[in-house]
């Protein structure tokens, strides 16, 4: 099947192939799914851009007039932006614009954040923020340059850096971090801390500007243009993203590690305790692509063919299982009692632990069924390591 599609594609490229009317049902459906996916990706990244602009602005307002209210508004803007971003994680893992060699993923989402690398706790003098001598000017470019997983550098920017700067270290067993707004007024290095926070937010905005451009419609030569044209390879990419997000990242790295270790802060959003909501968002992102339906922040729906339609065509007996596991991961994620870092505690019988285990099991099963679907489409999805943060 794949070879046929490739030959047909090649001959279309040469302008000598069959006209669109001669496409098989599989080709027609594949193409429709790919076009809908591309529309969805653009919508999600556009919504991320809008939300990160709101975040950027709320941080400006906070820094201009720090108060518990303006801090709360900035925190709320962070959470809103994250809820959209996690729905975009399903677009990772196939070296698309977000995680190709130059992609922003390591700068956006790396974990764990080395808090003391950025900002010494309890009034200490370490960290980039306190180090005016080595880092006189805090700019987005500087922060970007300091972010590297290996060698001398460490994780210094992205979502969790902003989260850390808004909430502070999570020292509490029962709540999130609790940084006072005086950290931005009277505390040592307050002005530089503010610059750092703003620079991180500015960097996130520029990254979503780039991603949105790469997925914008009608732009000659951008990623979307080629993604849509090479649609048989793109089905492989879509499936790759779904399989690795569900089986490797969500089930393994995010849920299994926390469930297995019971380490309270071994969660991606440990400063804000926002992990439950984000787990739901990841599961929702998977369902969005499976069912071809993305509900935007303004309440409108982007609906069209999804992977489910492809499954109905090539392997309909898989569909009940795929439905059950895709919807099931989401339902299970919704049943995890917030906050996540307490849900994983206690004995295995506790409602929280049962819900986390149910979610990760459903995600594992979802991944396995998607691999079966890939095989039915004669697509070989390679094994891939999780935590591929450095790319």
């Amino acid at each position: 099947m794949k070879r046929i599609l490739t030959c047909v594609l090649a001959s279309w490229a040469l302008g000598t192939g069959p006209a669109p009317a001669a496409r098989t049902p599989l080709q027609t459906t594949s193409r429709a799914v790919v076009l809908q996916y591309a529309k969805t990706v653009h919508a999600v990244y556009s919504d991320c851009l809008t939300a990160s602009l709101t975040l950027q602005q709320s941080i400006r307002s906070f820094l201009a007039a720090p108060s518990p209210d303006s801090l709360a508004a900035a925190r709320a803007a962070w959470k809103s932006a994250r809820l959209i971003y996690v729905q975009s994680e399903v677009f990772r893992y196939y070296a698309g614009p977000v995680d190709d060699a130059d992609g922003p993923e390591p700068l956006l989402n790396s974990w764990p954040l080395d808090e003391l690398y950025i900002d010494a706790g309890e009034g200490g003098d370490g960290g980039i923020i306190a180090n005016e001598k080595t880092y006189p000017d805090i700019t987005p470019r500087l922060i970007e340059s300091l972010n590297l997983k290996e060698g001398e550098k460490n994780i210094s920017c992205g979502w969790h850096a902003v989260e850390f700067l808004l909430w502070g270290q999570d020292k509490s067993a029962t709540g999130p971090g609790d940084r006072p707004c005086t950290d931005y007024t009277t505390a040592p290095h307050a002005a530089r801390r503010g610059q750092y926070l703003q620079a991180c937010a500015d960097l996130i905005v520029s990254q979503f500007e780039d991603l949105t451009k790469q997925w914008a419609p009608g732009k000659l030569g951008n990623y979307r243009a080629i993604f849509e044209e090479g649609y048989d390879q793109s089905i492989e990419r879509i499936l790759t993203g779904m399989i690795f997000l569900s089986g490797n990242e969500l089930a393994g790295e995010r849920l299994q590690v926390a469930w297995d270790t019971r380490e309270q802060e071994d969660e991606p959003s440990c400063f804000s305790d926002h992990t439950c909501e984000e787990t739901i968002g990841d599961a929702l992102g998977l369902q969005n692509i499976y069912r071809g339906n993305y509900v935007r922040p303004d309440g409108t729906s982007l609906t069209g063919p999804g992977l489910r339609d492809l499954a109905l065509l090539v392997k309909p007996d898989l569909v009940p299982g795929l439905d059950s596991k895709t919807d099931g991961t989401l339902a299970a994620a919704r049943s995890i009692p917030s906050p996540f870092d307490q849900a994983i505690l206690g004995d295995d019988d506790s409602p929280g632990r049962r819900a986390v285990l149910k979610t990760l099991t459903a995600a594992e099963d979802q991944s396995a069924l998607l691999r079966t679907l890939a095989r039915a489409l004669q697509i070989q999805i390679p094994e891939q390591a999780a935590s591929d943060i450095a790319g």
Binding site: L116, E265, A390
Partner: protein, 458 residues
């Protein structure tokens, strides 16, 4: 930004590998644990037969192997405790994508290469004697507020070797210094040994080879007069409090993956475990560093440590490639003909007692006997390690060799990463390997290429 051309060339995705049922038995370098992947992640995959439960444990180990350790006290308490002295922030920083490390260029700091230290002599267990100030490993990094132990520039000294047919090969060896010491001078007579980060994949299978099998391969007195006198290192096991065979590391100084991992956590990242509950600070360093916050006692819990150990045991060997290539088949014949196989043993069996049952009863092709061999003066570090002399090295496994370029984007071989090609690596072979090396040099260009093609297929 991605260009249109790069995308059309399909650079984004690796070519799909054919299903395992399509492959001949020789491709299964790791028996039924073998994975079929020749892309960037070829060294990072779990044993093909790893159970679902063990895969979940593997995922946890993977997380703690790959993610950075951070400065204490941090919110993510399971992850803090970096340093105060360290070499790198994560296992993956040096064991890049579960493969080997790279040495630095001139002017660069070391990451994938570290420096072992010792003074002449042995302790009660036969281990190398530590320097009183700097211990047995040099720490070139420290957390903010602490001084690293030293700065060590590297210089690459070039040389050439001309083969009988006129081909000239560029070689190089590293020199270190002048060293800037931050805790006072070391003791006189300090011994150094640069060590490249070892690849991790396949470790479980190597661990599962019975001791009796390795013993049967030894011939310390060269009783069969073939010029090869492999010896099993005998090293101190901290966990079992006894001497036992060493099989891991460039001088086979580690008896198990568990002990190797605990030592690496302490020495490379500054992370304590119940096997090594104290930070490795010497008396000279205690005043400055002893009171710095740590990440708990131990910093890495037994629960999580066990999963990291399982991870190191469960990284799979990738299948061989290109078996149909006539050049590869010729190269395989030559490999045996010129006696490379005397030390780079092609086939071994794992035993029936490894705790991970997925590793038991496997026919494997590691191309190593895990024994110590004298490799001659040019490659020597002159730093003994238990029974290993200053000129001996453990036979390096060759499985996965051909994928280094794909996984790591580079190729560096031998203990200090001096060899940039397999030809260079072969040319540094001497001592017990001299006869084989000379035979290689005398092969025709076509034959040499065939041997290299064979090595690349592993």
């Amino acid at each position: 930004m991605k260009t249109a051309a790069a995308f059309i060339l399909g650079a984004a995705l690796p070519l799909p590998a054919a299903a395992p049922t399509d492959h001949p038995p020789e491709a299964f370098s790791g028996g039924t644990t073998t994975v079929f992947n020749d892309g960037k992640d070829a060294f990072s995959l779990a044993l093909a037969n790893l159970s679902r439960d063990n895969r979940r444990l593997f995922a946890v180990g993977n997380s703690f192997f790959n993610e950075n350790w951070i400065i204490a006290p941090a919110s993510a308490q399971a992850r803090d405790g970096l340093g105060p002295l360290f070499h790198a922030r994560s296992c993956s920083a040096c064991h890049t994508k579960d493969g080997r490390g790279s040495p630095p260029n001139e002017g660069e700091a070391m990451t994938g290469l570290l420096l072992r230290l010792s003074l002449p002599g042995q302790d009660a267990h036969g281990a190398p004697l530590p320097d009183p100030t700097y211990g047995t490993q040099l720490a070139i990094r420290a957390i903010p507020g602490a001084q690293p132990e030293a700065e060590v520039p590297i210089r690459w000294i070039p040389s050439t070797r001309t083969l009988p047919d006129g081909e000239t090969i560029a070689l190089r060896r590293p020199e270190f210094g002048p060293i800037t010491w931050h805790y006072g001078p070391p003791a006189p007579g300090l011994l150094f040994s640069p060590r490249l980060a070892q690849p991790i994949y396949g470790g479980g299978l190597l661990e599962a080879i019975p001791e009796a099998t390795l013993l049967a391969l030894t011939d310390p007195g060269d009783t069969n007069h073939d010029g090869i006198s492999g010896r099993l290192n005998q090293v101190w096991s901290v966990e079992q409090q006894k001497t036992m065979p060493g099989r891991f590391g460039w001088k086979a100084n580690q008896p198990s993956l568990r002990q190797q991992s605990a030592d690496a956590f302490l020495g490379d990242i500054g992370i304590t475990t119940s096997l090594h509950p104290d930070e490795s600070l010497t008396p000279a360093q205690q005043p400055a560093l002893g009171l710095l916050p740590n990440g708990g006692t131990p910093e890495l819990s037994d629960h999580i440590f066990e999963r990291v150990v399982l991870y190191t045991q469960s990284l799979a060997v990738p299948a061989r490639r290109g078996l149909d290539n006539p050049s590869v088949r010729l190269g395989e014949k030559l490999f045996t003909q010129i006696n490379c196989s005397a030390c780079h043993t092609p086939t071994l069996q794992t035993g029936s007692t490894h705790p991970l049952q997925e590793l038991r009863g496997q026919t494997i092709h590691p191309y190593t006997d895990l024994l110590l061999h004298d490799m001659g003066e040019e490659l020597a570090d002159h730093r003994p390690d238990f029974l290993a002399s200053g000129t001996e090295w453990r036979t390096q496994p060759l499985w996965g060799l051909g994928l280094n370029a794909e996984v790591n984007g580079n190729t560096f071989y031998l203990h200090d990463g001096r060899a940039r090609t397999l030809t260079e690596a072969i040319l540094w072979h001497s001592g017990e390997a001299l006869a084989s090396r000379s035979a290689f040099e005398k092969l025709s260009r076509t034959e040499r290429d065939a041997l290299l093609a064979f090595l690349a297929s592993l």
